[in-house]
Symmetry: D3
Subunit: 238 residues, 6 copies
Amino acid sequence: MRPSHRQASQLRKVSIARRFTRHAEGSVLIEMGDTRVLCTASIEDSVPAFLRGGGQGWVTAEYGMLPRSTHTRSGREAAKGKQSGRTQEIQRLIGRALRAVTDLTLLGERQITLDCDVLQADGGTRCAAITGAWLALNDACEHLLSKGKVASNPLRDHVAAVSVGVYKGLAVLDLDYAEDANCDTDMNVVMTGSGGIVEVQGTAEGEPFTRAQMIELLDLADAGIGRLIAHQKASLAL
Amino acid sequence: MRPSHRQASQLRKVSIARRFTRHAEGSVLIEMGDTRVLCTASIEDSVPAFLRGGGQGWVTAEYGMLPRSTHTRSGREAAKGKQSGRTQEIQRLIGRALRAVTDLTLLGERQITLDCDVLQADGGTRCAAITGAWLALNDACEHLLSKGKVASNPLRDHVAAVSVGVYKGLAVLDLDYAEDANCDTDMNVVMTGSGGIVEVQGTAEGEPFTRAQMIELLDLADAGIGRLIAHQKASLAL
Amino acid sequence: MRPSHRQASQLRKVSIARRFTRHAEGSVLIEMGDTRVLCTASIEDSVPAFLRGGGQGWVTAEYGMLPRSTHTRSGREAAKGKQSGRTQEIQRLIGRALRAVTDLTLLGERQITLDCDVLQADGGTRCAAITGAWLALNDACEHLLSKGKVASNPLRDHVAAVSVGVYKGLAVLDLDYAEDANCDTDMNVVMTGSGGIVEVQGTAEGEPFTRAQMIELLDLADAGIGRLIAHQKASLAL
Amino acid sequence: MRPSHRQASQLRKVSIARRFTRHAEGSVLIEMGDTRVLCTASIEDSVPAFLRGGGQGWVTAEYGMLPRSTHTRSGREAAKGKQSGRTQEIQRLIGRALRAVTDLTLLGERQITLDCDVLQADGGTRCAAITGAWLALNDACEHLLSKGKVASNPLRDHVAAVSVGVYKGLAVLDLDYAEDANCDTDMNVVMTGSGGIVEVQGTAEGEPFTRAQMIELLDLADAGIGRLIAHQKASLAL
Amino acid sequence: MRPSHRQASQLRKVSIARRFTRHAEGSVLIEMGDTRVLCTASIEDSVPAFLRGGGQGWVTAEYGMLPRSTHTRSGREAAKGKQSGRTQEIQRLIGRALRAVTDLTLLGERQITLDCDVLQADGGTRCAAITGAWLALNDACEHLLSKGKVASNPLRDHVAAVSVGVYKGLAVLDLDYAEDANCDTDMNVVMTGSGGIVEVQGTAEGEPFTRAQMIELLDLADAGIGRLIAHQKASLAL
Amino acid sequence: MRPSHRQASQLRKVSIARRFTRHAEGSVLIEMGDTRVLCTASIEDSVPAFLRGGGQGWVTAEYGMLPRSTHTRSGREAAKGKQSGRTQEIQRLIGRALRAVTDLTLLGERQITLDCDVLQADGGTRCAAITGAWLALNDACEHLLSKGKVASNPLRDHVAAVSVGVYKGLAVLDLDYAEDANCDTDMNVVMTGSGGIVEVQGTAEGEPFTRAQMIELLDLADAGIGRLIAHQKASLAL
């Protein structure tokens, strides 16, 4: 029995609000149960130095948690003067996931930065960030298209992410904090709309896991991501 | 004529949502027109080193802007590795304003940290932060009271803040970004529920201002803060 | 009775030495009683990136306290690796005050940096810094004029600053440390030679203050700044 | 055809030197082809603050690359003043991998730090670091045992790691730099001596990968790690 | 011919003012020609962690240059966020020189910090700092003695320093900036009152130097330091 | 009697391996007894800003110690976020020593960086670094020559370094850690192949030293450096 009384393969309630703030070219508030992440996309007309003059664009991400998004307050990274290893790991992951479905040449020599800020955390923030950031990125790409700055939308496919894990011996989908803090294995899976795997990160928190468990988890994730991409599509249709 | 077509002495639409996030002991989303600030209050059972063993508590504040809360994206302070002078100035101001109405001895040897994070900026973020943070602080104090940790609510009075300024020769209340970026004088005023002045910070951005103008601005602020405190009271009554 | 036995409206002894060090284009040691601040003006033939190519100049300030300028040694900011919030707040104030009386277009595309370093502190260091820095800036402007680099002195007016406060119920001028550490209200006022207000920063350290007290303090400051500007003029006449 | 002319399932030449330096309680130079990593284990009689008084120990890792371990010189992190996101990601991975096979309660309230410094890089440095660090950690544990500080060796199992990937459509084992820089999918796998999976990190650098490819890669890794653990055992037998 | 028309073995004019500022237990302004360094000694009743509980004290130094003490303004280290290698090298040198003549056991478990801040630089700042800091340290030691905190003055001897160098083929004493910037060899020598050498740091800026030149420079330094120690004694006699 | 049973004027066993790693243009592992330093030379086709456009090149050095190169682990400077004063002092010394024998004009507008990383420390690491770095620099210069990028090898002479000191009253050559930690005087001497002195840094750790002792130490160093340069030549002949 999961703490939330969900079925093993049941997602939390998904809620998506586009145009949540007004300055950004894309701005999406995504909620997966009690996890709430604000994802904004900002377009800049320049690229990092290592790409300058090459004619292609770049998509990157930054991630942060508001100090009291968590059960107990965690120190503000701006005050500490550095981003934690966890923060950097997550923002690198988000960036890779989005670049995997972006045609950077079509984007042209500009950069889109996805800021993913966690307003409230209840597990699965990095996955929610990826799923929400794709929508913000898409809105920014449509913005470029409407301004005639790109010939077509540089996004080639959807991308979304979900966590899966082994909780009390049971493979479960979309872990909340209560499960995440007590599971044996935790795996984050990022997949495209056409079902390709973009990233898999599985960690045995307690006992090592087996090849069979890994395959079971992948299958759970596959189904869950399909439903998340349906949510993305429904949100675009509004 | 103000860009927003408001009267000189008219506040923007004020909207206050308490218990906006669920982990913090106080959590308030305050909106002044398009300015939106999330204020959370976090209680910790220890005080900074300089107060340890003295039997009194502490109230402090941290302030941040999400990178794309503004018209163009500004770099994330956590990534830059330091907080700007502006950020530090604002968070020191918020802390002083709240301590001015708190009985730190009644609070006992614990610290309450107010995190004020700007989700969307349209001028007046520091004033909105003070007005909203007072509510979050009050909720945290009531939380302590309900747990029997303090004998009575350590807040002795309300506190709220508003900006006033001289825009195209006219003294106006509650400047939005369009006014703030083009005014001659900008003044932030912090006052208590009983009408005492806690802080005045006036700056001539263009022409110096006169003693008479200063008094006119103070009077405008006085009236505006009265209405903001009425909003605080209405919110507490819900 | 003030600890220094001064009258309520009496400044401390003011002493100003121009050309105190020899490398800087302006170098002024200002003493207000036991407070001693060395202010130097340095001219550079470039401006910050945000102004480049715009044809106008910039005036900025940096502030520091020698570690043992104070009663007990405070850590060296260079060793700690960052400037405190207080330091940044003060140097931003000094810069704004000086820019308020400078014609940046006349200055041309160059920057003048005012370094204000406190050799000995006894209250009122930021105000002394502004009053002294104006003189150093003026010497640097005259230097530019004498070299034919500007058509006329870009300074349009004097600027000076003084602190006022409510000490044991009495409004007093030019607080020293003994008063500053025990006052209810502390206000720093910056004014021009023609009597315009450039900046007012008033803080209730203890009880909030009233509109009437604020006006009384402003009047004290007005008279005090008049005398400080007379000192500036006397120093220029030497 | 692989650039190195190896078979798809062939490891590079593995070479392990224990006691490579003399001060550390464990010191191992591991070479996987041209990749050379020096792994040292250092015992300290204290644990991080979050574990103090709990009776259990801790195992952690730090990772670094000598500036010219790479084809072109990369800036020294000590000079830049911070560790890159990549460095932090890798050292967190190494620490997790080793803790997965350590009985931290048996270790007692002490910390063992594994420093993994890359002398020469040719792909697969994080995997070589894990495989080598396990040996250094084991030597440190044996040192504790010989001193009577632990009742038995706290290591419950071997752990080793290898990279696998899809290079020009072919699933290959133990990628060198030439392959790593041009592969579609890159996956790092960490497994125990008893065949449990501790960590899987797979990234599509180009095209997304399929569930079938993922399983093929896992099987390659499984075989490769078996051989690496045989190398560890052979080295211990010397 | 030296730029200053001094004899080869002639010091610049030496001027020493004790009790230059009033808060520090020792405060000395030393001038060697146009070089001016303010040296303050601050007593703290604790020692660095590595000495705690050992019953002995510590003497340490910090060094800084005001930004415009030099011909062109150099960036403020507090603003840059770190001390340069040169600064650290110099403050380590000053600390070693003073500890060489201090009985740290007699001092007891307290630390004296010497802050050496350059108000104006014209070559030889580190040597002036050592010579002046000894006086400030002595005043602080006498302060401890007068308060009954030490049984006798922990300073066992004088210490002073001077630069020597080969300028246009000539061995000269006490280089000013014009010589320092153009000399072939630059050597800083620190000696005690009884003629022992505490530190020698010689660098060939241009051509390497010979054993004979080195001895000639040492002899010049020996004579110069004798005269500097006479200045210290004369200052103590005032 | 020296702890190592060496004669007073006896060097430790010297061992030099060129081409120790394969990416760098010069790569030398030098061992002086148990001290082992890896020195690599990296060529970059640009110079620091202060030299740009001047037609001359630059030689610079960076120094680091692996955390467990020492008896007890010392914190990783990259993790601490800054290089210690000692590190900066040493890398500045290495750079000066190498530039003293390099014709920077012949080198042309490029920079060679010498990374000196201590794998194992047993005293004398900075001297070993200089002696080894000269060889790495020479290999890099020969590389430039073989590519036709310089007209002749810009190195005008050899340079090498050794420590000397007074240990238990005896002047000894090439101190190991056991001597270094217990000596009265420690002196590092850098000399060229033609016998010129490039740098002398002598420090009295305990008792001050005399002019006579200094000369005796210089003579010891002179002889030792001669033998080190013979080792350099032998290594080049391989």
